[in-house]
Amino acid sequence: MKLEEIITRIEELPTPDPVVQKIIAVASDPNASAKDLADVIKLDPSLAVRILRLVNSAYYGLPRKIAQLSEAVMILGFKTVRNLALSVFTYSSVVRRKRSSIDHTALWKHFVGVAVASELMAQFVGYPNKEELFISGLLHDIGKVTLEFVSPEMFMAVAKLAKTLKISFFEAEKKLDLPNHALISMKTIERWGLPELVSHTCGGHHTPESFADSLYSDVISMVHVSDFFVNTINYGESYSYGGFVLSPHALNLLGLKPRMLTSYLKKLKEKLITADEFLKIEQEAVS
């Protein structure tokens, strides 16, 4: 199957519902205010409830409880609230599809892990725009979901090969001469109308060296390194079973030293414990 064929099938994928799309649009509008964003979210009460739950979760660890959405937008920022809306949407489109045979909960956990790891990495290397790192981390493997949606058989073939040969999902795709999931992620995200930074970053997260000239080469490297660490500590399931390679190019570009990585890993483990709420978005939806 060629990438083009998959792309045509992407059209059939659930796109973020109108509310989420509007949220993305408002968060990207340079002249939007907190109230504008809050007003959009309020259109979907269940979304609003779930966002507020995440806002007050241990991950953000705010000193006081936030009850109002507009307050949440002002305190946590537009992009964070946008990220939360997208998290809720992605969760729904990934985990709630019960007909699938794969463990979506584990895959979602991997998404959350890399989102948290990437945001932490931004803080570590002194990259101010850390919210974009969160969403890039969260969506970096969305291509796997797309692939599984387009062809569950193909997804299972790749996953099986990776498991048998103890290699990564990415390497297995290459062996089977399939378009890699990073590129599918990029195409999927482009369709959702997210900033180019996010789509490019997801597209390059396995091959940061070939994106060395990209405007977002540092962001790509951050997600790449974060993905590596989340895989090595077995947080969630990415359907990769080995062959994790840490790109020296990415480490050099970010100026990461082994001593820094050790302390990063320690912080990451602490941070992941606080991200529990992201794994249970479903529960609120049921109520």
Binding site: A27, S28, D29, P30, N31, A32, S33, A34, K35, Y60, G61, L62, P63, R64, E71, M74, I75, L76, G77, F78, T80, Q123, F124, V125, G126, P128, N129, K130
Partner: protein, 490 residues
């Protein structure tokens, strides 16, 4: 609500900010610039900057009290690196962290009625991050400056201490260039020879890689130089210390004279005792055994007493002369006389001594040589030179002699007294003229004398405006030259 930001406005703000931070030479100025930028973006009622411990460092339009809840929010902003707009009643408190990676440098807070749109928020956050980086650099720079001042202060302090040393101190690199010097060294005017000797010593020290010392006589001063190999920042250097040891030398000289004086006193006591003992012994014999002595024996005894008292007198005379010469109270009584005649007479009076030592006294000059001088003093000089020649003759030499030659040369008269005696080693050629020095002492020769003879001779000659010197070779003989201004026409 802020109006839509045009690209022109954005770029002009960015440019202004860049200009401001370029000009900020200290953290205070940078924070001022950052506050101005914020005011241009947000319609602020009040704006404050907190330090890393959240104490108010700068405030514009009145200061504030930060309650516990606000402090907790600030702590959260700093820890999560996330700016926040916190609603407080109808006012928003915009809190921006000034952090760099995991380093907290401060917090900027602005109170405003206005909400901030996405773009402005992102921009302000970027400015805050940029400021943090510049702020850290400025703080590093300031602390470096403080350190630099401390180092500079210590350096000056050490320099002052080193400058106060009487020694000249300098440090040289491998090319023998000065890398450090105290003021003593810098102010000292080195002669070309002195300077080249220093360079040689420095080079030698580098080669040997061990301490080298040198003593230099420059003019009337003595210098002791010590060169020590040292290391600085992995490169070899040489530390040079020059000390003026002239005073030390002078003390050493005085000590030596003192020593000679002590020896002199011991020596002179012996010299005085010998004739005195003889006089006393013969006089006692005469007194107790007068009637038992025949006329001839008595005569001999009295002769001895007379001779010994003469000897005693001459010793005392010598001492007196020396003391006069030392105190510069000797006055010359100049007359014109024949020096040849004076030498001849002196030889006659020494005939007995010469015979006893089997030394021939020869006067090679026959014609009279006139000179205007103190006859009595000059006789002393001639006597001393002749008797020295006789006294220091070689014992086993078969043909012992002391020869005198007198010549008129232009307006000068040259007296030469040569012998084939024991001679004087070269190192003592000068010393024999020094007071209290006795060749007999250093060469272990049992010859009597005060050790003042040549000193007195030298002083008398010099008092006449002449000079005295000698040529000598041990085992061959000595020639003493006395050159005097003639003082009369030929």
């Amino acid at each position: 609500m802020l109006s839509q930001m045009s690209y022109h406005r954005l770029y002009s703000l960015l440019s202004s900010f860049i200009r401001e931070i370029m000009n900020a030479t200290e953290p205070e100025l940078l924070l001022d610039a950052l506050m101005r930028i914020f005011e241009r973006f947000v319609d602020c009622e009040r704006i404050v900057v907190l330090d890393r411990d959240f104490n108010i460092k700068k405030a514009k339009n009145g200061t504030v009290q930060l309650d516990e809840q606000l402090r907790m929010m600030i702590r959260w902003v700093v820890d999560s690196h996330s700016p926040m707009s916190l609603p407080q009643g109808d006012t928003l408190v915009h809190i921006f962290p000034l952090v760099k990676a995991n380093k907290v440098l401060g917090v900027l807070m602005a109170w405003s009625k206005d909400e901030v749109v996405v773009e402005t928020s992102e921009l302000l956050r970027t400015f805050a991050f940029l400021s943090a980086i510049v702020l850290e650099n400025l703080e590093l720079y300031s602390s470096l400056q403080v350190q630099h001042r401390a180092v500079e202060g210590t350096k000056n302090y050490m320099q002052r201490i080193l400058d106060s040393f009487p020694q000249l101190i300098a440090v040289f690199d491998e090319d023998a260039r000065i890398v450090f010097a105290n003021s003593g060294y810098l102010k000292f005017s080195f002669s070309e020879e002195f300077a080249s000797k220093i360079v040689q010593l420095v080079q030698k020290t580098f080669l040997a890689n061990s301490r080298q010392t040198l003593e230099i006589e420059e003019g009337s001063n003595f210098y002791s130089i010590v060169a020590e190999p040292i290391e600085h920042e992995g490169r070899p250097q040489v530390l040079l210390v020059i000390a003026d040891v002239t005073n030390t030398k002078e003390v050493e000289r005085l000590k030596a004279i003192d020593q000679l004086k002590t020896e002199f006193v011991a020596n002179i006591s012996h010299e005085l005792k010998t004739p005195l003992a003889a006089i006393k012994a013969y006089a006692e014999t005469i007194l107790t055994s007068m009637e038992m002595l025949d006329q001839q024996t008595l005569n001999e005894f009295v002769q001895i007493i007379y001779r010994e008292s003469q000897h005693l007198e001459s010793i005392l005379e010598e001492l007196l002369d020396f003391s006069k010469l030392e105190q510069k109270t000797l006055v010359l009584e100049k007359t014109t006389f024949d020096l040849t005649g004076l030498v001849r007479e002196t030889m006659k009076s020494l005939e007995e001594l010469a015979r006893s030592k089997q030394v021939r006294l020869e006067l090679l000059t026959r014609e009279p040589v006139l000179v205007r001088a103190d006859q009595k003093r000059l006789r002393q000089v001639v006597m001393n030179l002749l008797s020295n020649g006789v006294k220091y003759s070689k014992e086993n030499e078969s043909d012992k002699y002391v020869r005198v030659k007198i010549e008129r040369k232009d307006d000068k008269v040259l007296l030469e007294v040569s012998d084939n005696g024991i001679g004087i080693p070269k190192e003592y050629h000068q010393k024999v003229f020094e007071r209290f020095f006795r060749l007999g002492t250093v060469m272990d020769y049992r010859v009597e004398g005060t050790g003042l003879g040549l000193t007195i001779a030298k002083q008398i000659v010099e008092l006449h405006g002449g000079r005295i010197w000698l040529e000598s070779e041990p085992g061959v003989g000595t020639t003493v030259y006395v050159e005097l201004p003639a003082g009369v026409e030929r």
